[in-house]
């Protein structure tokens, strides 16, 4: 298990080096190396999924295949558990992301034709490096390690977009890099702040996510133990008779009271900092997702990037930001999340859903349409995550996988179209379904999956996300209602695209070489069949996946529920969606809130 995780990071990076050093003048060799390396990672990730579902992996709620050793260390005698460590592990949340990364990178390479200019050794080397870094970010259990992979992905992206992109490639690459850099620098500040505030300052900083989560949970707990200690010391002080005993008891009382006082002060400070740290951490993640006010790099980059890169950029790399939200922001800053996630992120996500939908409706180019539809769909993922209950979180994570599969599939469709035709302007195509039967079937099914037809995968994720948001009550309900409009918009532009390109009078543009284009080839059929199989699998029988995800989101949701109770003095809202999950999560029944109200009756 450990070795498998390390191999996921190492194989692509090694492949990249191999490409650079042995295949500089041989396109075929470069392609062989890249395909071999990425297909090996596919095999490993499929194996990991299989192992996990057969129950041979780690316990739910813990990390499988954990590896940890100290890097960036000093020579001094320091606590070996502190500092920046290379700490990786796999859990239910990252499993799906690993699968997406392992699946889409080889698929994108596999479908890129042999004659494509993307078979350059440079592109292939960067592409493999990008895959290694993406795996690393999804597996990281250390804040700085996550940041390191997260930030380093910018380098291959920059060189690939800038080197092999379309006409505005340099502008697109620069924009992508600078947006990413600016955002993630704030994230760096947030990471340092979180580790200082949670990890303690005297002994040194702790960047380990699991341990910081424990501290964050503990920080939130009411200080009953300390209060008890004070009460005990007080009664003792009143009881004891002799002077010496009295002094000792008084000292104990003073100490206990001081301790309580300190704890209260720390908690009050912690409560205040969380808002700032939340905004800082979110800055970089928001750029990566992207959510609405910082999305300006995205349409340009998606349109100008080489198409094989766009596939993974949209399907795997956009998930880095969402993954950061559920892995870092929500568990480490529960109070700020409760305060800010729904009103701020939820609103932005809803705006993104509607804006993306409207913008996609207005575009005439397939790539732009898919870019905007990505903004819209990622909004649903985010909406699920920020609903902060188990239903929504599980739905959000599932929707991340679904979006990867469906939108990844649509981008792959765009890729094979670009292999055949010079441009992707929608109006140049018409009635393709008659000649390209297989392609038509694939397109119809992917579009139906994308618009959320029941029985296909997106329906499950979107429904759970919206249910979670709805369950939150208050503004959550309004947002959920508004977001539902996005589904209608989605159906509109997607079906419109389908209607105009695959139905109607046959009008097929000439190919690049002037040859008559062909329908799907055998390889292409294989890839799309597996994608469609996944769509149906996750649409018709999502329970195993939901169960696996909720085993981990459950813990996050519980922490957030406690935080909400502390703040608002009202219980976690009834889990409307939990009937969907009741098969899945054996624990969901046992963790209902017991005695809610504390103070502050100002809640609904």
């Amino acid at each position: 298990m450990k070795e498998a995780l390390l191999a996921l990071i190492a194989i692509p990076l090694f492949g990249a080096l191999l490409t650079v050093f042995t295949a500089r003048h041989c396109r075929n060799r470069a392609r062989t190396i890249a395909l071999t390396a990425t297909i090996m990672t596919l095999a490993i990730s499929v194996w990991l999924v299989a192992v996990d579902f057969c129950g041979w992996g780690g316990q739910p709620g813990s990390y499988a295949g954990e590896t940890r050793f100290l890097i960036l260390g000093t020579g001094g005698p320091v606590d070996p558990l502190r500092g920046i460590s290379f700490h990786i592990g796999l859990d239910g949340i990252s499993l799906g992301m690993i699968f997406l990364t392992g699946f889409l990178f080889p698929a994108a390479l596999f479908l890129t034709g042999k004659a494509s200019p993307l078979n350059d050794w440079g592109f292939l080397a960067w592409f493999q490096a990008l895959q290694g870094l993406t795996f690393g970010a999804f597996l990281s259990l250390d804040l700085v390690l996550f940041y390191l992979f997260f930030e380093l992905t910018l380098i291959p992206l920059y060189f690939m977009v800038g080197g092999w992109g379309g006409g505005l490639r340099i502008e697109a690459a620069t924009k992508l890099f600078l947006y990413g850099l600016t955002g993630s620098l704030f994230t760096l500040g947030g990471i340092v702040g979180v580790s200082l505030a949670l990890g303690g300052m005297d002994k040194g900083c702790d960047f380990s996510i699991p341990r910081l989560v424990l501290v964050a949970q503990d920080r939130g707990k009411p200080m009953e133990a300390s209060m008890e200690r004070v009460a005990k010391a007080k009664s003792e002080m009143e009881k004891t008779m002799s002077d010496r005993e009295k002094d000792a008891a008084r000292a104990r009382f003073d100490e206990a009271e001081h301790d309580l006082f300190q704890k209260r002060k720390v908690e009050a400070q912690w409560f205040n900092w969380q808002t700032t740290l939340f905004l800082m951490l979110m800055a970089g993640l928001a750029v990566k997702i992207p959510i609405i006010p910082v999305h300006f790099w995205q349409p340009l980059a998606y349109r100008e990037a080489p198409i094989a890169l766009t596939v993974v950029l949209s399907a795997a790399l956009a998930k880095l930001g969402l993954f950061g939200v559920v892995r870092i922001v929500l568990p480490l800053l529960p109070d700020a999340s409760v305060r800010l996630a729904t009103p701020v992120l939820g609103t932005l996500a809803t705006i993104g859903i509607l804006y993306g939908g409207l913008a996609a409706l207005g575009t005439s180019n397939l790539r732009s349409m898919l870019a905007f539809s990505s903004i819209s769909h990622l909004g649903f993922c985010l909406l699920g995550l920020v609903s902060l209950n188990e239903t929504g979180l599980t739905g959000g994570v599932l929707q991340m996988i679904n979006h990867g599969i469906t939108t990844g599939g649509l981008w792959l469709l765009a890729l094979i179209l670009l292999e055949r035709f010079p441009s992707l302007e929608i109006h140049t195509f018409s009635g393709m379904g008659k000649r390209f039967k297989a392609m038509g079937v694939v397109a119809v099914l992917l579009v139906l999956s994308s618009v959320g037809l029941p029985g296909l995968n997106n329906f499950v994720g979107e429904a759970l996300s919206l249910l979670g948001m709805f369950a939150q009550g208050g503004e959550g309900r309004q947002l959920a209602v508004l977001a539902t409009l996005g589904l209608i918009l989605g159906a509109w532009y997607m079906l419109n695209f389908l209607l105009r390109t695959f139905y109607g009078d046959e009008r097929i543009p000439a190919t690049v070489q002037g040859r008559i284009p062909t329908d799907l080839t055998g390889c292409e059929k294989m890839v799309f069949t597996s994608i469609l199989a996944l769509c149906f699998l996750l649409g018709l029988y999502p329970q195993p996946a939901l169960k696996r995800i909720s085993a981990d989101t459950h813990l996050v949701a519980r922490e957030l529920g406690e935080a909400r109770r502390r703040q608002m003095g009202n219980p976690i809202p009834e889990n409307i969606g939990s009937m969907v999950l009741t098969h899945g999560s054996p624990k969901s029944g046992t963790n209902q809130p017991s005695a809610p109200q504390t103070q502050k009756g100002g809640a609904r």
Partner: protein, 544 residues
């Protein structure tokens, strides 16, 4: 040296024992004189190059030997030179930097004064190295002059045309002026304390128990502080003492700019660190009153310096001018460590400063080495667009350059990232800690939180102009020039700089030995300050 003798120790043998650790520097001075003398007989590039290079390597090897470290116990004054952790690590950096300069200059400039130029590098290196160890004001001043005077001559020798002369003269006049300001400040410090020894001065200056405090002392102390900082600020190009740098860098050659941007900055930052008491082991408020004044002073300097440097650099097209502003911006980051000062508990800020200084020197020297390499190869590089398409025509130089630029941006796995991480952490730590302990008003939290945000915003701005250069290297097409010759020495320097950058980026502990750990490895707690955050259940096994 006579002066030191009378000022520092009672008996000559004590004095000798205290300066013995400075042997590598004295060796360099002697060797430099020898090279000077030899230059009158022969001007031979390889000969003087090898001699100087091996002299520097010998000095480096000597400095690594423990007998040339002086035992340090507490803050007591041992003599004019002190070899604590700070001087050890910066001494190595200085020698490496000197060796790099010799290598870079191997084929650069005209051959008529090659011996003199190598001798001057040896002098300046020895001067910078003495400066990082100087423990009293007289030694400090002398060693700073030992950096400055050779620098004037190097500037003149390396480019003798109209622009070169103008920039040399400009640097010369302003440098003298800054030295005068510094001396003026020293005179105040001496006047208040009656001592030239830095530890004693700081101890006296900071004593709030100076009973009764003469009314003039706080004002005089402030004047002295400001004057000294102004003088040293010139060396480290802190705004508003930076204005010479862009003109001088642009007017001189790549080689002259690389000397100016490294040796005086190492010396200046080391002197600032010593004079603000950053190297002292004691804490608990001994230096507090003096410190808080200097802390706010450096706060202002740091924020203005980095912001101005980065913003103006955005408009530059001339490479040396751009790197002058970039150097100003990096000086601003390093001033953050001085502003954070001692109050975080122990040596976190000092370690951050040292890591960043290593990073800065390695990155800047490497970049200039590549410029010299390209220049000598027949590809004249003056402007950013001259770098166009370099990665295609010369992949090795392009690769070296891109790693250095990534480090300058501050991407992970490079020294630039680790340095920024350490600085941000220092600043945030001071802010958060003051909020918890309530030792200071809450404004401190805002001040230092703001400072760390400023570092991040500035790093983002800097990303813009460094990225433009990466774009020129990799994404744009340039003219392919046929190389006339291959100056390997400069390329090797660039490569070594990359190695240092990456090594420090992965193992920052290598360069912070003896000065405490890098900030995230913990600091000694202040006496009596129990941090409640430590009582959290940190030692639980993760995950369950």
């Amino acid at each position: 040296m006579d002066m030191d003798l009378t000022l520092s120790s009672s008996s000559p043998s004590d004095f000798l024992a205290s300066v013995a650790p400075g042997f590598p520097e004295f060796f360099l001075l002697a060797l430099g004189s020898l090279v000077f003398l030899g230059g009158t007989f022969r001007q031979d590039r390889p000969l003087w190059g090898w001699i100087s290079f091996f002299g520097l390597v010998t000095a480096l090897a000597l400095a690594l030997r423990p007998i040339f470290h002086s035992p340090m116990e507490g803050n007591a004054y041992h003599g004019p030179l002190v070899y604590d952790g700070l001087s050890q690590t910066l001494r190595l950096l200085t020698f490496l930097c000197g060796a790099g300069l010799v290598l870079m200059g191997w084929e650069e400039g005209d051959s008529t004064h090659i011996a003199e130029r190598n001798g001057l590098i040896l002098f300046a290196t020895a001067g910078a190295s003495l400066c990082v160890a100087a423990n009293d004001l007289a030694t400090l001043f002398l060693s700073l002059e030992l950096v400055s005077i050779p620098t004037y001559l190097i500037l003149f020798l390396t480019r003798g045309d109209k622009f070169g002369r103008e920039s040399t003269l400009k640097y010369f006049l302003l440098s003298i002026f800054s030295s005068a300001m510094m001396l003026f400040g020293f005179s105040y410090l001496y006047g208040i304390t009656g001592s030239l020894q830095i530890p004693e001065i700081l101890a006296i200056l900071s004593q709030s128990s100076l009973n009764p405090v003469p009314e003039a002392v706080p004002t005089a102390r402030l004047v002295g502080l400001v004057m000294v900082v102004a003088g040293l600020g010139f060396k480290v190009t802190a705004v508003p003492f930076h204005f010479y740098a862009p003109d001088v860098y642009q007017g001189t050659s790549h080689f002259g700019a690389s000397v100016l941007s490294t040796l005086p900055k190492i010396a200046g930052f080391a002197a600032l660190a010593r004079l603000t008491g950053l190297t002292f082991e004691t804490n608990g408020g001994v230096f507090l009153p003096f410190e808080s004044q200097s802390s706010y002073l450096f706060w202002i300097l740091a924020s203005v310096t980095m912001t101005l440097g980065n913003v103006i650099a955005l408009w530059q097209t001339n490479l040396r001018r751009l790197f002058a502003y970039s150097g100003i911006a990096h000086a601003g980051y390093m001033l953050v460590a001085l502003s954070v000062g001692k109050e975080v508990g122990a040596t976190g800020a000092l370690a951050a400063l040292v890591v960043y200084l290593w990073a800065y020197v390695a990155m800047t020297l490497g970049v200039f080495a590549i410029f010299i390499y390209l220049d000598k190869k027949g590809k004249h590089v003056e402007k950013v667009e001259h770098l166009n398409g370099l990665a295609k025509t010369d992949p090795v130089a392009g690769g070296i350059m891109v790693v250095l630029l990534m480090s300058l941006i501050g991407l992970p796995l490079t020294a630039g990232f680790i340095g920024k991480l350490a600085l941000v952490q220092c600043a945030l730590r001071r802010g958060l800690e003051s909020a918890i302990t309530e030792a200071h008003p809450n404004s401190e939290l805002r001040l230092f939180f703001g400072l760390s945000i400023m570092i991040l915003v500035n790093a983002a701005i800097a990303g813009w102009y460094y990225l433009r250069m990466i774009g020129a290297l990799y994404l744009r097409k340039g003219k392919d020039t046929h190389p006339s010759n291959r100056p390997v020495a400069a390329l090797v320097t660039g490569f070594v700089c990359v190695v240092v950058t990456v090594a420090v980026g992965i193992l920052p502990g290598l360069v912070t030995r003896g000065i405490g750990e890098v900030p995230w490895h913990g600091i000694k707690s202040k006496a009596g300050m129990a941090n409640p955050m430590d009582k959290s259940p940190m030692e639980k096994p993760p995950g369950h």
